[in-house]
């Protein structure tokens, strides 16, 4: 009987390869990882208001940028690069090998998680050094942070893979994907304080994961007194967990069922 490598071990190997490949693409490294940091520098310097006792807009914004980094590095990057890989024929070639689809997906998840970690470290560093971000000392907050990053990153990966079936070609992918992400960022309280947005925007945002990720990150990085300023008057972490989980399941479902390896 043939002994072929397990899907998980191949997935880990693919993760290593994806990271190596990604680290050699300087433009994407700069764009994907540094872009949120640049945004932070700009917004943090322009808006210095205090939005609640002891909370500045830049602190609010760092929390939002970490959350939206999860969407940028995962969903956006994958929904744009996978159609390119498909155009190149790289996906079809993989399809012709015994490597299972799940290994390819695991590899992507590892790549996204790794670049997310680097980005978070950069954002936290900048936030603390220049924008008055306070690193939480409470262990419970770090527990929240950990599951938010893991669940958020996985969810973002799964949805990015699932959404990669939408763009017809690699060239057009950016035009389809980027507006969705930017609009979501506006609606979800990344660039503005969420509670100051019109109610209809808030309601639309509440369907998608980004709003919940930003709110969750605020629960980690803003003082607990700020919870009263949220729409529900609390952090709603339980609800956040469930909503992210539902989106993760949706993402995995479409990735497994509908993934396109070939152009036609």
């Amino acid at each position: 009987m043939n002994k072929i490598p397990s899907a998980v071990s191949l997935g880990i190997r693919r993760g290593g390869l994806e990271i190596r490949q990604f680290s050699r693409q300087r433009e994407s490294v700069v764009f994907t990882i540094l872009f949120p940091v640049i945004l932070l520098a700009i917004f943090g310097s322009v808006f210095k208001d205090t939005i609640a006792p002891g909370v500045t807009f830049s602190q609010y914004f760092v929390a939002g940028m970490i959350a939206s980094g999860l969407v940028n590095t995962g969903f956006q990057a994958l929904a744009i690069t996978i159609p390119l890989e498909r155009d190149f024929g790289a996906l079809k070639r993989l399809r012709g090998t015994p490597m299972p689809a799940s290994s390819y997906f695991i590899g992507k998840a590892i790549l996204i998680f790794a670049s997310m970690l680097i980005q978070i470290l950069l954002l936290l560093g900048f936030g603390v050094l220049f924008f008055g971000l306070e690193i939480p000392t409470d262990l419970a907050k770090w527990v929240t942070f950990t599951w938010l990053v893991i669940l958020g990153s996985t969810c973002s990966t799964a949805l990015g893979i699932a959404f990669s079936i939408v763009p017809k070609s690699g060239r057009g992918a950016s035009a389809v994907v980027s507006p969705i992400v930017i609009i979501l960022q506006f609606f979800s309280g990344v660039f503005f304080v969420f509670t100051q947005l019109p109610a209809w925007m808030q309601q639309i945002a509440a369907i998608f994961p980004l709003k919940w990720l930003t709110q969750g990150m605020r629960a980690v990085f803003l003082p607990d007194t700020f919870a009263a300023e949220e729409v529900a008057g609390q952090w709603e972490l339980g609800k956040t967990f469930v909503i992210l989980l539902v989106w993760l399941v949706i993402g995995i479902f479409f990735s497994v069922r509908k993934f396109k390896w070939d152009r036609d």
Partner: protein, 283 residues
Amino acid sequence: MSLIEVKGLKKSYGDVHAVRGVDLQIDQGEIFSLLGPNGAGKTTTVEILEGFRTRDEGSVSVLGFDPQSRGHESRLWRDRIGIVLQSSADAGDLTVIETIAHFSGYYSHPRDVQEVIHSVGLTEKAGALIRNLSGGQRRRLDVALGIIGNPELLFLDEPTTGFDPEARRAFWSLIQKLRSDGTTILLTTHYLDEAEALADRVAVINNGLIIEVSTPADLGGRATSQATVSWRDGEATKSEKTDNPTTLVAQLSASFSGEVPELIVTRPSLEDIYLEMIGGIRE
């Protein structure tokens, strides 16, 4: 023993009947070449055999397995085949050796990475980034990735497009070596001389049907077809079709008392026969 068995294969895309009832039988250890113009159903047939497309009708067995099944069995099946696609590229941020070594990890019994690199003639380029390879070198990398898993059956789709004559010859001897190692090869090509040099048997497909399956030498009655003898007679070039060229040449030799000026004896090339079979249309 047949490695590939196809009976009554049909596939349509909407109103277009791409494959209209193909039967094929490919034996272990042979190089089998599928010839046909663009749109003849060649690619569809091969992609069904490779498990990239599903069929509408008919039965297909490749290494005793139905290529359109999925799941673990399908992984075990893919472990035994190799595919060199018509066009595949990637961003090229990995080196030749990194890529081949990585792909070798997908298989249960891969070939030795260095040996494969050597056999496709990329030893000098092993440490080069793929983006810096020439077109022909990239194609050789494609072949390396197709054979790294030590396949029993290798699909080659237009493998030498863009090769210079020297690289093509080197590639042909690589393919012949693979056959002598026992690999069965299904080759699709536009180059008739390539089919003639490599294939044990060829099949001509047109309008979704197999017209003939034969050895390159016998295709279309080529072996028994009339020869053309041409020579110069004074100012004029003369030519004559004959079943007995040797007799004719002997007569000519006698009448010229020795050397016949500009004597040429030809039989139809594989290309002539092929063009006649597909109705003289060439794309």
